[in-house]
């Protein structure tokens, strides 16, 4: 059934290799960011009267910020939105409509290819190094081996869901560009909102209690915070499974929304030029 989509998985993976330079740049920027975050939180904790702020010790905070940075970069990838915007702008979307494949599934596979490549090349080495270093300097208490294995497994599942959720949000934003050509603004808005609400800027525990509760059950928490906290073992097994189930439910809901939106928008499509 999905054999038709194999080439899109492959081209997604190959596309990523074309952006070697971008990855190196990200490493440099990210290292600077982590340094900033370190000193920022250092200042916050030193001036604080308590050792634990909103449930995080200084060590836990640094570990969280480091992991969430890598996870956001590695898992939330793919250029679904930009591909759609480009196809709308130059009219090649017409050619996509006459192929015997689903417009949506095609993007899932190309993002899967892209992300798989990124995880293998970048995610796994980065996570391993971070984990080992933090364990050696005592920032992380390593659990028994089967517990660690379980955490990694649950993280893998929640990261896959985070990727699918993210890609679906991108797809929806892309489809919205059928109506407006303001792709750049929409993309920035989406990135900023998600960065703030998903816990990749600060942990959701820093929001007011009611907002934290709301966000934990929104699709946003499943994008960054929850996968990382699952990996770091801050959630119990039941909690982890609950959040994974929730992400899955949100994914289904968003895909349904995307499907409805596409059906409506594609009737309105006017192909540019020719």
């Amino acid at each position: 059934m999905f054999r038709r989509y194999k080439p899109f998985f492959r081209t997604g993976a190959m596309n990523l290799l074309a952006y070697k330079f971008q990855m190196i740049m990200w490493l440099v920027i990210s290292a600077l960011q982590v340094a900033c975050i370190f000193f920022l939180w250092d200042g916050v904790y030193k001036s604080s009267t308590t050792e634990v702020i909103n449930g995080y010790t200084f060590e836990q905070m640094i570990v969280y910020m480091a992991f969430v940075n890598v996870a956001t970069f590695v898992v939330l990838g793919g250029d679904t939105m930009w591909t759609i915007v480009r196809e709308i702008k130059n009219g090649t979307i017409a050619m996509s409509f006459v192929k015997p494949i689903s417009y949506r599934v095609r993007f899932i596979f190309s993002t899967l290819g892209d992300t798989t490549m990124l995880i293998c090349l970048f995610g796994i080495p980065c996570f391993t190094i971070l984990y080992v270093v933090f364990a050696l300097i005592g920032f992380i208490t390593v659990p028994v081996w089967w517990m660690l294995l379980l955490q990694i497994l649950l993280f893998a599942v929640s990261a896959l869901l985070a990727m699918l959720l993210w890609d679906c949000v991108n797809y929806i934003c892309g489809i919205l560009c059928f109506y407006t050509t303001a792709g750049w603004g929409l993309s920035n808005l989406k990135d900023t909102v998600i960065r703030f609400l998903s816990g990749s800027l600060i942990p959701l525990a820093f929001f007011p209690a009611w907002a934290e509760k709301l966000l934990l059950y929104s699709p946003f928490a499943g994008l960054s915070q929850n996968p990382v906290l699952i990996l770091l073992g801050r959630y119990s097994l039941t909690q982890s499974l609950q959040f994974i189930g929730l992400s899955f439910a949100w994914w289904i809901v968003l895909e349904g929304l995307a499907w409805l939106l596409f059906n409506k928008a594609s009737k309105k499509v006017t192909v540019q030029g020719g």
Binding site: R3, S266, K267, V271
Partner: protein
């Protein structure tokens, strides 16, 4: 095979005003103007036909083609391809049709041509034997073998168009939609594309729907011509009938040393008409009634022409003639 009933497409365009102030007004205005691109047309095309779909720019050709292949949804009326409405069931129809838009490419820009074909092979789930057979056929007819390993962005327009035709046909569709496949190409490439279309039609019974501005394409390929103007079909029938109705009209343009007096020139039994424009003289005649040789001879020896050129009837001439004829018909009634 293809059935079109009362097909209509209306585009809604926001009314834009000129200037900076006008643009600001447009920002808040919700006024639209309606443009009828295709006006309730009916058309049936059978299997194995090569049908020329012609008309001037903006007549509604491309819009109709886009509705036939499911890219655009009609405002009203419907299209049936093998009993399926393409815009409602894109994926089901996709395997039955192949599309070439002369202005756009469906090939992947940065990868070698052969890789694009391999992607299409997987997308359309083409078996290895079919793939090899069809690639051989296309290397022979379209000569794409010479540049298979080059990235698409390095191909010339002629090469790219041949590659695009090959890509559209790779899954052996029952219907091939070609929207201006010969636009901007030189005579040799045009010929090779026409030859390939003919062979596909003969060997695989592919139905072809072709839009073009080149009368030669129509004359070479099409058994049937559909003429559209301002969204209405104004002629549907065999190409011979157009020929028969309007003859094989030619215009001989000659440059003389001074302006000719049109009234004194011989009319060859009212078969030739003249239009003078300075030193240039247009001589219009029907090549079936007056021999071309005779006119050239006349232009050189009697008129002492310094330069000359001959042009055939164009699509625009045909459209104009048919419209004039209809107008006359309307007056007579």
């Amino acid at each position: 095979m293809i059935e079109i009933t009362n097909l209509t497409k209306v585009f809604k365009k926001p009314i834009r005003q000129q200037g900076v102030l006008g643009m600001l007004k447009t920002l808040f205005s919700t006024k639209y103007e309606q443009k009828v691109a295709v006006n309730s047309i009916n058309l049936t095309i059978g299997e194995g036909e090569i049908c020329g779909y012609i008309g001037s720019n903006g007549a509604g050709k491309s819009t109709t083609i886009k509705m036939m292949c499911g890219i655009l949804t009609p405002t009203s009326g419907k299209v049936l391809i093998d009993g399926i409405e393409p815009y409602k069931n894109r994926r089901k129809v996709a395997g039955k049709i192949g599309v070439v838009f002369g202005q756009k490419t469906q090939l992947w820009w940065d990868i070698p041509l052969i890789e694009s074909f391999k992607v299409l092979k997987e997308v359309y789930q083409i078996s290895d034997t079919d793939y090899t057979e069809r690639m051989d056929f296309m290397c022979k007819t379209l000569g794409i073998g010479d540049f298979l390993t080059q990235p698409v962005r390095t191909l010339s327009l002629g090469q790219r168009m041949r590659a695009d035709l090959a890509a559209a046909w790779l899954h052996n569709p029952k219907i091939l939609f070609l929207d201006e496949p010969t636009i901007g190409l030189d005579v040799l490439v045009k010929q090779s594309i026409r030859q390939a279309i003919k062979e596909m039609n003969a060997k695989y019974n592919t139905t072809v729907i072709l839009t073009t501005h080149d009368m030669q394409d129509i004359a070479d390929l099409c058994s049937r011509v559909v003429l559209i103007e301002e969204g209405n079909i104004i002629y549907d029938g065999p190409i011979e009938e157009i020929r028969h109705r309007f003859g094989d009209l030619r215009t001989l343009t000659v440059t003389l040393s001074q302006q000719a007096d049109v009234d004194t020139l011989p009319t060859f039994d009212n078969k030739v008409t003249y239009v003078a424009d300075g030193a240039k003289l247009q001589i219009k005649f029907d090549a079936e009634q007056v021999a071309l040789e005779q006119m050239v001879d006349f232009a050189f020896h009697t008129l002492h022409a310094k330069d000359m050129s001959i042009s055939e009837i164009t699509i625009e001439d045909v459209v104009r003639n048919i419209l004039q004829e209809q107008e006359r018909g309307a007056h007579n009634v």
